[in-house]
């Protein structure tokens, strides 16, 4: 389809890799400091959820050539730290209808945990860090086939 290619080419050219940028410069800092701060949510998941979270952090580490500074804890303190810029990424189990939806950027889930209610293993980033979020989304997408196996 020619017009499909035209749209893709226009978007790629328009993008020119210049937009978006992060409001607080997370990706620049991660790449310059070769380190990113991650919170792993300890509660609510099983072994599969933890494996998916770790696999995701590993992929992000490879993509940014940065070392993850890992912290494990309950979701509330980790998400508060993320919102206030003390963490760059939180990964773990979160309810589908989480009250945090507007406070932080909840990305596409990596996996689903069977429970009485639907729980999702999902990467969570700080709002407005759009370039960093794009990278996380790309890595989550690339990891999906691996997790499905």
């Amino acid at each position: 389809m020619k017009w499909h290619r035209c749209i893709v080419a226009a978007l790629a050219l328009g993008g020119c890799d210049s937009l978006p940028r992060d409001a607080e410069g997370t990706l620049d800092r991660v790449e310059a400091g070769r380190q990113f701060r991650v919170g792993l949510i300890a509660d609510g998941g099983d072994g599969r959820a933890l494996a998916a979270s770790r696999a995701f952090v590993h992929r992000v580490s490879q993509a940014t050539q940065a070392r993850p500074d890992l912290r494990t804890g309950a979701s509330e303190p980790l998400l508060l730290d993320l919102e206030n810029g003390r963490l760059d990424l939180v990964v773990g189990v979160l309810a589908e209808q989480s009250p945090w939806t507007t406070e932080v950027a909840i990305l596409q889930p990596l996996a689903e945990v069977r429970a009485p209610e639907r729980l999702l293993v999902t990467p969570i980033a700080r709002n407005g860090e759009n370039r960093w979020i794009m990278l996380l989304e790309r890595e989550a997408e690339a990891l999906a086939p691996e997790l499905e196996r």
Binding site: N127, N130, M134
Partner: protein, 306 residues
């Protein structure tokens, strides 16, 4: 008697154009609401712009309803006809315009005070991942063009038809394309990492929209409580009505002259003199003869014997 033939012959062609333009307006507004709805994402700015675009349906809809009523004749229960439905439609359109301005200001202030950083992620399209912001920019560009063109075409028609609803719709279209431009600046600003850019632009634009909405509300209220006819889109007295009042004062010295507006028409009342045997409304009109249709009625209140 057909409905259209109940309109003054001088404005029938313009009214036909205005009705056609409003149907185009509705069609384009629907397409904008659809396109914007598809790329809303998590952006609050886009959501607000989408709500404003939805409010843009109100003026054309009330205009089309008012025109249908206006061309109905008087009935037993409505012996004065339905000219005043137009005044009611004007009030509704004015409320919609003022609401757009207030909504925009509230959203901008809320975002700035709460320091909300909008997240715009990626979208998968034709097998590739793109920043959703590019599609938002395309949608915002599309949302600017139709209201800009339609609003620009509505203004001369509103003047010739002396139509406050159409005039308010032109202002609503202006509000919509300006909001689109602010949204565009906002998405680009967001892409550059300036989270506050769109809110500042939206807050500045909202001041003009609130001012237009407030003015329209004052004129609509004046019309509904039988105030002196106002100039189109202004709270100042209508110059044509002022000339008419002066002419009537000269023709009926000592009488009290009262003018009021029902929709696009002027009703004049001469109080304190005996009525003429016959009257020629066209000859009474002091301004452009092409606009003599505005004087719809001249009535007399004879002096009280007591």
């Amino acid at each position: 008697m057909s409905r259209a033939s109940r309109l003054p012959p001088e404005i029938r062609a313009d009214m036909k154009r205005a009705v056609r333009l409003e149907y185009w307006n509705l069609g384009f507004t629907a397409s904008i609401v659809l396109v914007m709805g598809l790329v809303l994402g998590n952006s609050q700015t886009m959501k607000t712009a989408w709500i404003e675009d939805t409010l843009g349906f109100i003026p054309p809809i009330v205009f089309l309803i008012a025109v249908r009523f206006e061309t109905r004749g008087a009935t037993r229960n409505y012996p004065f006809g339905f000219h005043r439905v137009h005044s009611l439609a004007f009030l509704i359109a004015a409320v919609a315009l003022a609401s757009v301005g207030l909504l925009l200001l509230w959203d901008a202030a809320h975002t700035l005070i709460a320091r909300e950083h909008a997240t715009v992620g990626t979208i998968r399209l034709f097998g590739h991942s793109f920043w959703l912001g590019w599609l938002m920019i395309a949608a915002q560009l599309y949302s600017i063009l139709p209201p800009f063109i339609i609003g620009w075409r509505e203004l001369p028609l509103a003047r010739r038809l002396q139509d406050e609803v159409l005039f308010t719709d032109a202002k609503m279209n202006k509000a919509n394309w300006q909001t689109g431009a602010a949204g565009l600046a906002g998405i680009i600003g967001l892409g550059l990492g300036f989270w506050w850019a769109d809110s500042v632009a939206a807050a500045l634009i909202s001041i003009g929209i609130i001012s237009d909405g407030w003015k329209a509300l004052r004129i609509a209220t004046a019309e509904l409580v039988d105030g002196v006819p106002r100039a189109l889109g202004s709270t100042a007295p209508d110059p044509e009505a002022r000339k008419l009042a002066a002419k009537l004062r000269k023709q009926y010295p000592g009488a009290q002259i009262r003018l009021r507006e029902t929709g696009r028409y002027i009703h004049a009342e001469v109080c304190g003199v005996a009525p003429d045997d016959t009257q020629d409304l066209k000859a009474l009109w002091p301004g452009d003869p092409e606009r003599c249709w505005r004087l719809a009625q001249l009535s007399f209140v004879p002096p009280d014997r007591g």
